[in-house]
Amino acid sequence: MTKILDVQNLSLYSGNVTLLIDISFTLEQGQIMTVFGPSGSGKSLLCKSILNLQNQNLHKTGKILFMNKDISHQNNLKSVRGKTISIMFQSVSKSLNPMLTLGQHLVQVSKRNNDDLLMDVGFSNPIEILQKYPHQVSGGELSRFGLALALAPNPRLLILDEAFTSIDDNLKTKFVNLIKNLVHQKQLSIILVTHDLDILDKLSDNYIVMQNGEIIETNNNLSTSSNSEYLKNSISSFKRLYNDDF
C-alpha cells in the first residue's frame, strides 16, 4: 500500500501555550483514520493545520508530507488545497457564503456536471437544489451538500471535521454507506474527526486518540485492549448505555 499522508512531529504554539504537541501519524491510500477525543483536545485544530488553515498568528513546526510532497510550504499547499485534499467543517451553514447559491459554490470548485454526485448524497432533484441559497435549505440538506461540495473536486484525501455531529441517525447511516463505497471504488483516504464511538467502530481502519493536544493512543482495532484511560472509559460507558446495540 502507498502512503498518502505522513505527518511528522507537528506542533502548534500560541505564545508559550502549546496547542498541539508533537503529532505524528501516517495514513495509507484507501484507508479511513478516525481522530477520537474529548472536546477541546485539539482535533479540529489538527485538521485545520494539515491544510495550514489555523490562525496565522500561531507558530507551527514539523513536517507534513502528502503523496511525498512537503505541503508545509505555501507553494505546494496551493496545488493540494481544495484539489487533492478536501475538508468539510462541522457547521456547513456557516461555511457557505450567504450571498451565493449552492450552484455558484459548486461551480467554483468543479466545472463539470455534478448531478450524479448530488444524487449520490441523496438529492432527488439536483437542478432545483443548486438554485437555492444556503438559508433556504434545511440542516440535513446542507450537510449533504457540504459532503458533495467536498467530494466534487475528486480529492485523494477527505478530511471530515465533526461532520457527523449535527446530523440525525438516519442520515448518518447513509453517509457511512456512501463513504464506504467511495473508499472502495476510488481508493479515497479519509481523516474522520468524531467523538462518536459508533462511527469509530463502523468505519475506521485505524484511529488515534487525542487528549490535551497530544496523541495518547494509536491503534487499529477497538476490541484489542486499549491503553488509554479515556478510550477505556468511553467504551465502558458506551456498553452500559447502548448495550443492546453494541
Binding site: P38, S39, S138, G139, G140, T165, S166, I167, D168, D169, N170, L171, H195, L197, Y230, N233, S234, S237, F238, R240, L241, Y242, D245
Partner: protein, 243 residues
C-alpha cells in the same frame, strides 16, 4: 393509572411568511399526545421537524393555530395570568443550547435565584440553592462565578438546576445529550434518573438520537415534517424511516 398531567389534542401551528402573510406552511400538524404523572415520553425527529415549535407551543411562548392543550384537564388558553405563571413554573424547559441559556451578565446565583417561589425567605432560597448545587455534584463556589467562567458541562448542569428551582412537575429536555461524549452522556443520564426519583418529575425527552430513548420511554412518538406518530418501541422508528 397515574393522573394525567398534560393532554395535547390536535394542535397545529402555522408558519407565516413575514411580509405578505401568504405562503402558509405547517410547523406542526394535528399533534396529539398525553403525559401522566411521573412518566416519561420521547419524541424522535430530525432537525427542523417541528420539535422547537412544539416546545414553544407547550410553554405557550408561541400561539397555536388550532387544537387545545389541557393541563390537569384545563385548557391552557383559558388560564388566568396567575394560573399561566403557575403552569409555566410546573413545566420547565432545559434547552439544547446551554451556552446561551444563561444571562451572561448575572452571576450563577442570580441566574438561579429569581426562579424561586416568592413565599420562601432569602435564607430558605439560598439553602435550597446550595442543596441543589451539591446534588448536581458541583462546588458551592460556582455560585459567585459568571457564566463565561464555567465549562460547557457545568453550564448545562446549571440550566438543569434552574429548571428545578421552581419545583416543576414536568421537565422538557431538548437534545440534552447531543453535544456530549459518551462518558458525559452516562453521567448526565444518571443525574436525570436521580432527579426523577427524588423530585417525581415527568420528562418530555426530545431527540434525534435513537439509542438513548429507551431510558425515557413510557411512550414514544416520532415527529416528522410537523406530523406526529406513536411508535410501539424505538426500533420501529428505523423501520418507519426506511419505508
Amino acid at each position: 393509572m397515574n393522573n394525567l398531567l398534560l393532554n395535547v389534542a390536535n394542535i397545529s401551528l402555522v408558519n407565516r411568511n413575514q411580509i405578505l402573510k401568504s405562503n402558509q406552511s405547517f410547523a406542526l400538524k394535528d399533534i396529539s399526545f398525553s403525559l401522566a404523572e411521573n412518566n416519561s415520553i420521547s419524541l424522535i425527529g430530525d432537525s427542523a421537524s417541528g420539535k422547537t415549535s412544539l416546545i414553544m407551543a407547550l410553554l405557550k411562548l408561541k400561539p397555536i393555530s388550532s387544537g387545545k392543550i389541557f393541563y390537569k384537564g384545563k385548557d391552557i388558553n383559558l388560564f388566568s395570568k396567575t394560573e399561566l405563571v403557575q403552569y409555566r413554573r410546573n413545566i420547565q424547559p432545559v434547552f439544547q443550547n446551554y451556552e446561551e441559556s444563561l444571562n451572561p451578565l448575572l452571576t450563577i446565583q442570580n441566574n438561579l435565584y429569581y426562579g424561586f417561589s416568592n413565599r420562601l425567605t432569602k435564607k430558605e432560597k439560598l439553602l435550597k440553592l446550595n442543596n441543589l448545587v451539591n446534588l448536581m455534584g458541583l462546588n458551592n463556589n460556582i455560585l459567585s462565578k459568571l457564566p463565561f467562567q464555567l465549562s460547557g458541562g457545568e453550564k448545562q448542569r446549571i440550566t438543569i438546576i434552574r429548571a428545578l428551582v421552581t419545583e416543576p412537575e414536568m421537565i422538557i429536555l431538548d437534545e440534552p445529550f447531543s453535544s456530549l461524549d459518551v462518558i458525559n452522556q452516562e453521567k448526565l443520564l444518571a443525574v436525570f434518573q436521580q432527579i426523577k426519583s427524588e423530585f417525581k418529575v415527568s420528562y418530555i425527552f426530545i431527540t434525534h438520537k435513537i439509542p438513548l430513548i429507551k431510558y425515557f420511554s413510557d411512550s414514544i412518538f416520532s415527529i416528522n415534517k410537523g406530523k406526529m406518530q406513536k411508535l410501539e418501541n424505538y426500533r420501529a422508528y428505523e423501520n418507519l424511516k426506511n419505508d
